[in-house]
């Protein structure tokens, strides 16, 4: 799934909403779209919409044809985006500053905000008014960015494989940011991954093909995040759909080992009191 942020930088009217409408219309022609609106005024258990059902911390209303509405407490932007990743092709997140995903900024200050932004490769378009929006260009720029995947979205994908009827096993590996190697260790704040653009994707694709050619292995998904990955977040996933557990376990282990050996990715570690390239310490 591709995630697109839309944020307001000095629009005085409904320009933001009109930009969101046009982008959602464009994305809906390509696939299933989830829209998330952040509104800081929703607080203290007040629900975004009046719900027919009363009580419970989370409530769903379901219709016979699968239509639904929901409300609840305790959700974050990250977790709602992760949930959408399972069955949406795109997510549009409105009103969140500092999102780590590609973003369109709307408003008179948009250009200035885009150039002032330290991570200005994150801003893929800045428009002053809805009429300035080239939604085809935004779509193309969005498709060029890394997609957002979760363990669940990859597991769901392999389960939908045409070969799934031959499968009796899924094995997965999740690599995450380890805060400490032992209790006295200086806490790692984040890792930053640099990628050899183009070649990394080629190596991952050929590794996937190689693993999928093994007897009994039906589908393999490999995914590695780049940029800043914070303490406790997931970095890399390997998911194997196989006939039986033996080849699933072996392939998931070989998959992560070969990914670490063969794909040109470089890891900088930032701890509370140091910063270093991991290959220089290991």
């Amino acid at each position: 799934m591709h995630v697109l942020g839309v944020c307001d930088h000095g629009t005085g009217d409904d320009a933001l909403e009109r930009v969101v409408d046009r982008l959602v219309d464009r994305l809906e022609r390509e696939g299933r779209v989830g829209v998330v609106r952040y509104d800081a005024t929703i607080a203290d258990g007040m629900q975004a919409h009046d719900s027919l059902t009363v009580g419970g911390d989370v409530s769903y209303e379901l219709g016979a044809d699968g239509d639904w509405a929901a409300s609840g407490t305790g959700m974050t932007i990250e977790s709602v985006v992760d949930q959408l990743a399972v069955d949406c092709d795109y997510a549009v997140v409105v009103g969140v500053d500092g999102l780590r995903h590609p973003t369109v900024v709307v408003g008179a200050d948009g250009e200035a905000a885009a150039s002032a932004d330290e991570n200005d490769d994150r801003v893929i378009a800045a428009v002053e008014a809805p009429g300035d929006l080239d939604s085809d260009a935004v779509l193309a720029a969005l498709e060029d960015c890394d997609p957002h995947e979760t363990l669940e979205s990859l597991v769901d994908r392999v389960k939908r494989s045409p070969k799934a009827e031959l499968s009796g096993a899924i094995a997965t590996f999740t690599g995450r940011v380890r805060a400490k190697d032992d209790a006295d260790d200086a806490r790692t704040q984040y890792l930053e991954f640099e990628k050899y653009e183009g070649i990394a994707e080629e190596r991952m694709a050929s590794l996937k093909t190689d693993l999928e050619s093994r007897d009994g292995v039906l589908e393999v998904e490999l995914y590695h995040r780049t940029g800043v990955v914070e303490d406790g977040e997931d970095i890399v996933f390997v998911v194997v759909l196989a006939g039986h557990r033996g080849e699933a376990f072996r392939t998931v282990e070989d998959g992560i080992n070969r990914l670490k050996d063969e794909v040109p990715l470089f890891k900088k570690e930032v701890t509370v009191d140091d910063e270093f390239w991991v290959h220089e310490r290991s």
């Binding site: 690599g175 070649i199 040109p264 990715l265 470089f266």
Partner: protein, 93 residues
């Protein structure tokens, strides 16, 4: 036509840039391009070369192919429009 080097991780930091263009072109060797790359970059030279030989941990790719494993090493001849890459041990995951 000049040749472009892409540099990664601490090698880019030592060179002061992620992309460096050198004059070596079709008919010259990867070694010629490397010599030009490190010519005015003593910190990078110290990191990647030991007595003129490439340190064992350093990777050199030509269009994604490791010249040390699959080609003629630093003797590999350049072709028009080649992209060269220089990087330390990979550390994904």
């Amino acid at each position: 036509m000049p040749t472009e080097w892409k540099l990664f991780a601490d090698l880019a930091e030592r060179a002061g840039d992620k992309h460096v263009t050198v004059d070596a072109s079709a008919g010259d060797t990867v070694g010629d391009a490397l010599e030009q790359l490190v010519a005015d970059r003593s910190e990078l030279e110290e990191r990647v070369l030991d007595d003129g030989d490439l340190r064992s941990q350093i990777n050199v790719l030509r269009n994604g192919t490791n010249v040390l494993v699959e080609e003629e090493g630093l003797e590999t001849e350049l072709k028009e429009g080649d992209e060269l890459a220089l990087f330390p041990p990979v550390s994904g995951g």
